[in-house]
Symmetry: C2
């Protein structure tokens, strides 16, 4: 019997995935949680065989949770299950120690297979996504540039960003300019967009 912990913030989707997995003879869902921090706690308590983790979650994202869980429960395997097949997500998830990466658009039948394979020590990754991840290379942005792009997504002005990050306006403009250059964009919005699409934010 494979014991699975399910972390997914949308309650209804979590319940539905639980129902789907419970149809399998050899799989039990031992717990379901709504954020990464709860996933770490639940993993320590239930010591599941496989942790199914969404990436976009409140409180703590799935990638950070992956690292925490594996350090506390080394016997567990982490299978990332996310909406967006962003190359940067895949890379960061694997770096954090995940054993698999499945997007929510795959056939339902494959989910149980992925869980079994991951449990058996195999690595499960969508081939197309792996290629995309290698092609696009890794994140060229510095930490500051990521911060500023994240903040710029909301439509804040340079003055706002400067205040929030306690920097001079000139410095903010410099970082923005640098990020725009590195992403090949033509303004901050486009830069934020491409960075987001690549999973760099």
């Amino acid at each position: 019997m494979i014991r699975v912990l399910l972390a997914e913030d949308q309650h209804l989707v979590r319940g539905a995935l639980s129902a789907l997995l419970s149809l399998e003879e050899d799989i039990t869902v031992v717990a379901g949680v709504a954020d990464g921090a709860a996933a770490v706690a639940a993993a320590a308590e239930h010591r599941p065989d496989v942790v199914l983790l969404d990436i976009e979650m409140p409180v703590m994202d799935g990638i950070t949770a992956t690292a925490r869980i594996l350090s506390e429960v080394p016997t567990a395997r982490v299978l990332i299950l996310t909406t967006f097949g962003r190359p940067g997500y895949l890379r960061r998830a694997m770096d954090a120690g995940a054993s698999g990466f499945v997007v929510k658009d795959t056939e339902p039948e494959r989910l149980a297979d992925a869980v079994r394979k991951v449990r058996a020590g195999q690595v499960v990754v969508d081939p197309d996504l792996a290629v995309a991840s290698l092609e696009r290379g890794q994140d060229p942005l510095t930490e500051r540039e990521r911060q500023i792009l994240r903040a710029a997504e909301h439509g804040d002005t340079v003055a706002d960003l400067a205040k929030r990050l306690c920097l001079s306006e000139g410095t903010v403009r410099n970082h923005l300019s640098s990020a725009i250059g590195k992403t090949g964009a033509r303004n901050r919005a486009e830069a934020a967009r491409t960075a987001r699409e690549n999973g760099w934010l």
Copy 2:
């Protein structure tokens, strides 16, 4: 037996929801499709009692599909099931003739209830969302302004927008300025953001 048609673009989520609904004694999922156009076709073919429709779907969105389905199969009831509880979505869905509106964060147990209530002719709406919808009022934007905001989200420059929409740059700036004023924003990015959050795009 309540016959349900399921329209949801993420294959895995669709399968999971199907599994969840199939646990109920009185509910059968007669078909599952991945976009609005397919939903219209499947509704005509299967004539389901209830159509569960996601909003964000390729080819045709769930709100457009709602109107089409109801005109072709007036006996069907439409229950919108979506990730985002945007006020504008709710209003547009109800205007299109939907009988219910459920966000993906509700408790799994409530889904079957909602299906049954909708089948029985009742209207199912999250009370908080209904209040938010009334408070925020309806879309103040003109069609052009929506178009331009949608395009501006990608980070395009004024010149790009002008070319794509076959307008002069000055006109694009006027529409942008007007949209920025109506949304109470301080630049195009913020305007696009608030418009998106309210479900106006």
